[in-house]
């Protein structure tokens, strides 16, 4: 019997049992209802776990193409030799053993919103009552002609997803002779993780300062200014890494010569020894193909009470792929918050109840500006019924007064706690 047919019959059986057992109380439909989650990252893993925690009568299948989760947040520290990739890695075992999430290691390739089915690369077709997509985003290499060939992308790395790219970039930096140039290009906002590139510049600068002090870091930012924690990053570069870090705003990358590691900008060319390009980004292909993109041809519009797509019913979208609310960053922490609101909302909707009309979420984001010193940005967001979006709660938005080792210890703790919150 094929996997999908076996699953279909199991669901029918669960529905029949639930119908007989419940009688009064919540609708029998919810018991045995089937939620499929795409993406085992900060948004999807969290949503899958929390639905099972809060409504064990609802079946959850999580589709994830990687066998392990590797955190991109904090992975810049690998570039400085401060942590190993293994420290940022977690498995999916507890989701199945502790919470009975059905974890399927496969890639979701197509959605049929009318039939409510999800097709996987391996051939299976999963029926769903509600679909939660936390698919991340696509890196748009096509927009940089010199990066269209795979061979070019082996030399010019992004490391904007953690794993092999992180290790390869670390090796490039280790191999670079003293006196070399590391150039980092940043696309126009919005992109995944606003402070990420500036933290990366700090990590590489710290590594150079302590190991290759004649080397340089050049930040070519398409934006007008530093997009997050601006006064703090600027001060650190000036006071801790003088003569090492140079920041150039209004520098959009137009093309790349991967053979010579040359970045081509509007008015200049920069030849680097290590060229690191963070490409422009867009909601992942699976969301785009399903007709979910509603903004700027890039991002998925959602109802902030439920994260349900404004384009297609029964599909909820989390994390980096969505059109952000005001001052809502594309961060892992934020996606984890989305996951919990969506979990509660999906449970309510499956039970025929109204979702929480007053969701509150927050962001806390730590950046390592040296081996041990850290700065944060944080905010609390509350639903505004009139504007129908999340707005920043007064007095909650702010950053560190200055870098500190204390916040460095909090940042390390944050990592361990959020990965446990998602996956343990």
């Amino acid at each position: 019997m094929s996997l999908s047919r076996r699953r279909f019959l199991k669901q029918l059986a669960a529905g029949a049992v639930a119908g007989a057992a419940t009688g009064v109380g919540r609708p029998a439909f919810a018991a045995g209802a089937r939620v499929v989650v795409v993406g085992g990252g900060f948004g999807g893993a969290t949503a899958a776990k929390y639905i099972r925690m809060w409504a064990p009568d609802i079946q959850v299948t999580l589709v994830e193409r990687n066998r392990e989760f590797i955190s991109c947040p904090l992975s810049n520290r690998v570039l400085a030799g401060q942590v190993e990739l293994v420290d940022l890695t977690r498995g999916y075992g507890a989701l199945s053993s502790k919470y009975s999430v059905e974890v399927v290691y496969d890639e979701a390739v197509a959605i049929d919103p009318g039939k409510r089915e999800l097709a996987l690369e391996g051939g299976d077709v999963l029926p769903y009552d509600r679909l939660i997509l936390s698919p991340g985003l696509d890196l748009l290499f096509d927009e940089i002609p010199g990066l269209r060939e795979p061979a070019a992308r082996e030399r010019v790395l992004h490391a904007w997803r953690a794993g092999q790219q992180t290790m390869a970039l670390r090796r490039q930096l280790e191999a670079m002779p003293d006196g070399g140039l590391y150039a980092l290009t940043i696309p126009k906002v919005p992109y995944r993780c606003p402070p990420g590139p500036y933290e990366r510049a700090c990590q590489v600068a710290w590594y150079f300062k302590t190991h290759k002090p004649k080397s340089k870091v050049l930040i070519l930012d398409a934006n007008e200014k530093v997009q997050s924690k601006e006064p703090l990053f600027t001060k650190v570069w000036k006071e801790w890494y003088p003569g090492i870090v140079e920041y150039r705003p209004n520098s959009t990358l137009l093309d790349v010569d991967a053979t010579t590691l040359t970045a081509k900008l509007e008015f200049e060319e920069v030849k680097a020894d290590v060229l690191n390009v963070v490409p422009p980004q867009r909601a992942a292909k699976i969301a785009a193909d399903a007709g979910l993109i509603t903004a700027n041809n890039k991002w998925v519009g959602v109802d902030f009470l439920t994260y349900e797509s404004t384009a297609k019913k029964h599909i909820h979208v989390l994390g980096d792929a969505i059109v952000a609310a005001p001052a809502m960053p594309k961060s892992g922490h934020m996606a984890n918050q989305h996951g919990k609101v969506a979990a509660a909302a999906v449970i309510a909707l499956l039970r025929g109840e109204a979702p929480n009309p007053n969701p509150v979420i927050n962001n806390t984001c730590y950046s390592f500006v040296s081996d041990k010193q850290v700065i944060h940005v944080a905010s609390v967001h509350r639903y505004d019924a009139e504007k129908r979006t999340m707005v920043v709660a007064p007095g909650t938005s702010g950053v560190s007064a200055a870098p500190s080792e204390l916040e460095g210890t909090y940042a390390e703790s944050w990592g361990k706690n959020i990965w446990a919150d998602m996956l343990a």
């Binding site: 918050q337 609390v380 709660a393 909650t396 959020i418």
Partner: protein, 105 residues
């Protein structure tokens, strides 16, 4: 999507009743959703690994005092003064009550 007024009232009432005796399913979920704000940093169930303090099993009065002092800016903080300002006094009571009842591991 506009929520009918009665649903808004139901959820608000749910939060206030939570502090009383037995909670209904809706009250439980309202509380759990609010508390879920905190676990990304403080760990699942408020049990933390590392420097961020665990909040599971703390005395309710202590949590309320700490959060009110963070809100007022009278307690030393790196980030909690920002978070505390995001919640109403009633929500702080609910959070404190919830985490005081979580098992410390």
């Amino acid at each position: 999507m506009n929520q009918p007024t009665r649903c808004r009232i139901a959820w608000a009432a749910a939060l206030s009743v939570v502090l009383g005796n037995s909670a209904t399913a809706a009250e439980d979920q309202a509380t759990r959703s609010l508390a879920a704000n905190c676990t990304g940093c403080h760990g699942p169930g408020g049990n933390s690994v590392g420097a961020i303090p665990a909040i599971a099993g703390l005395e309710k009065a202590y949590i309320v005092t700490a959060m009110q002092e963070f809100k007022a800016g009278t307690r030393q903080a790196t980030v909690m003064h920002q978070h505390a300002k995001g919640y109403t006094d009633q929500e702080i009571e609910v959070l404190a009550d919830y985490f005081s009842k979580q098992k410390r591991q």
